[in-house]
Symmetry: C2
Subunit: 212 residues, 2 copies
């Protein structure tokens, strides 16, 4: 049974995975800076739907990489996404990862106002100083609140990664973000998730780190 | 733009999502105990492929729920999966979540032996006392090492959740696990991930907690 296993050294598994992905893309190419984002998302999901789903506003990947090189921090809407982001590499660039979802006062305020914790978390995140990237892998209500905060002039992030997953207001919340002037990377449709959000962050961080 | 948004109260979003999933399954049903597992995975991924991908060995969901009611602990192969499991509800049942991936001595030993950290983590996990469920959402090498440890009689888990994602040995590692006598829940093929592993754990925990 074990003889079906391909022998690949631990530090070469990822490289081999990216080779297989590139092969199966059969010559399809993506713009510079976006290429690694798309491939890392496929690597994380084994889902080639993202070839068509992932939408980049003009130069958004390049703009985000530049922001990360200049110490931008990341705000997520789940501790899962936060946990998947390479914090060591991000901190080497001067940024931090922040998630307010599990803060007790966020839960209390959300309960009192009858909004989601994700919405309150976005308000907290908007108060952070410095360059900010929002990476939303779970809650469409986070994107909806961000849309409002942007329109009210309260926050102007460098990038919004809008990849919540699910069935209630997910498609619509992504469309809202794509209607703003803020650079975005969005997975059109219902698909996405915390692992996708983390994969996009890491693809940007690794590129920023490389050209540092 | 905002008028496209369906107004759903925060505590009803999940309920509404499950209603939509059930509708779109168009009358398709699953065995007791498995139903919530399949639906929670679809809820987490927005991917109906899991209707066909998810394989349960005989009574595996029921066996796992019983083990959780008796205080079984969960071992994951990523901190992301660990972070997604409802620890409060699991601890109420008497179990804990464990992940050895970020332990410094695991990294050192893996480097020295030229194996993956995931493989060493499975060895560490096998030494835990009491009932154990392995939830593998990332590393096929974890499943391969588990297969060996089972065959060597070193570990006999209550359940293996085998849902690593990717391109190198992922399909094969799942087949290995399905060839053992250990109860399993496996996503056949390349798909899976840490969010899928956590969703399966939570679907089992919630059912165990309900009939406590």
């Amino acid at each position: 049974m074990l003889n079906k296993i391909e022998i690949v050294k631990p530090n070469e598994i990822e490289k081999r995975s990216f080779e297989i992905i590139t092969e199966e893309l059969e010559g399809k190419t993506f713009p510079e800076y976006e290429d690694l984002v798309v491939k890392r998302v496929i690597h994380t999901t084994a889902d080639f739907d993202y070839v068509d789903n992932l939408c980049f506003s003009e130069d958004s990947a390049k703009i985000a990489i530049e922001a990360l090189r200049n110490g931008a921090s990341i705000i997520t809407d789940t501790n899962m996404a936060a946990s998947g982001i390479n914090k060591k590499r991000l901190e080497a660039l001067g940024g931090t990862v922040n998630c307010f979802m599990a803060h007790e006062d966020v839960a209390k305020e959300a309960e009192k106002r009858q909004v989601t914790r994700a919405a309150v978390s976005m308000e907290r995140g908007s108060q952070l100083k410095g360059k900010i990237i929002f990476a939303i892998g779970n809650a469409p209500t986070a994107l909806i609140r961000l849309y409002e905060l942007i329109n009210e002039g309260i926050v102007k992030p460098e990038l919004i990664i809008g990849v919540p997953v699910g069935f209630v207001n997910v498609v619509e919340s992504k469309e809202l973000i794509m209607s703003t002037e803020i650079p975005y990377i969005v997975s059109k449709g219902r698909k996405g998730g915390s692992t996708v959000a983390a994969a996009i962050c890491n693809a940007l961080i690794y590129q920023a780190d490389k050209i540092r």
